[in-house]
Symmetry: C2
Subunit: 154 residues, 2 copies
Amino acid sequence: MASNAVMEETLQVLKDHKLRVTPQRHIILAYLVSHHNHPTVETIRDGLSKDLPNIGASTIYNTLNTFVDHHLVVELQNGDGSTHYDYFGTPHYHAICTNCGRIVDVTYPGFSDTEKNLEKKTAEISGYMISGNHMEVYGLCPECQIKLGIKKND
Amino acid sequence: MASNAVMEETLQVLKDHKLRVTPQRHIILAYLVSHHNHPTVETIRDGLSKDLPNIGASTIYNTLNTFVDHHLVVELQNGDGSTHYDYFGTPHYHAICTNCGRIVDVTYPGFSDTEKNLEKKTAEISGYMISGNHMEVYGLCPECQIKLGIKKND
DNA sequence: TTGTTACATTGGAATGGTTCTCATCTGTTA
DNA sequence: TAACAGATGAGAACCATTCCAATGTAACAA
Ligand SMILES: [Mn+2]
Ligand SMILES: [Mn+2]
Ligand SMILES: [Zn+2]
Ligand SMILES: [Zn+2]
């Protein structure tokens, strides 16, 4: 079970979004807030086996889809065939390893401006009414660089 | 069948990448070069029914996966459940409609710098050896704005 | 040209992540 | 506390994609 602080925070988030507060939703959201491993449905289910031993897979999918609709959570693909989920409390983007699928959070000062500029330009050019964006950068994570015997500077 | 110019161009692309030149690969690549509709496997199969009436679905998947490995083609998801493919001859990114799934190409002067900067920052922060990136911007396309009766300025 | 061989194609079966169905349960509101 | 819209859960269904094994063929060298 997540900490009291996290449970209170997530309870408030659910209420703010006018989502019915069920134990399943509360616990799943708390899990996501306190784990930034970008879990799959399977990972979440395993991680919650103590708290929710009888939860159905459909409930996890339904819950996550609801969170995605409310922009609380984003979906990520890393090429392993299943969808990864990420609580999106603070803006960031992802670096994804093309070899092992590792997903890490990235942000830097000025990233928010880059993002805003991209959205503004896109609106002007395409006429779309922008609601969000995703940026992903691909490459080899440090461990895979070593594992594959690749030198950085050559 | 695509134009002679496209057939020559795609033939050269296949050779440059040391890919065995089969009719299937040649025709699929020519299709992608001359169609920027971001087709699915099904769309491609339909579009090629004249040229390759007996092509197997696995061949299209195999071929596209090969092209993706060689960075000739990128994969896109628009939420309709199937993967969309895009020949990536010139750098650009995508605006995706969250209502109807329409995918349009976007680029602007300076986009290349934005991209390079993002990759550079990511390499510094994450230690990843960067090989590429994807940027996507989400929103409502002009048609869906009208269809849904949403006003731009209010 | 021809032979060799590694690789590509095919159709069908298998896979597996996600959605669907529907009976049951429950959080919310009055 | 009653009523009900909405959520849950088990399993079936879905379907995009991959796997498999037999057949075909592009590329290369002699
Ligand atoms: Mn993240
Ligand atoms: Mn495109
Ligand atoms: Zn890695
Ligand atoms: Zn649209």
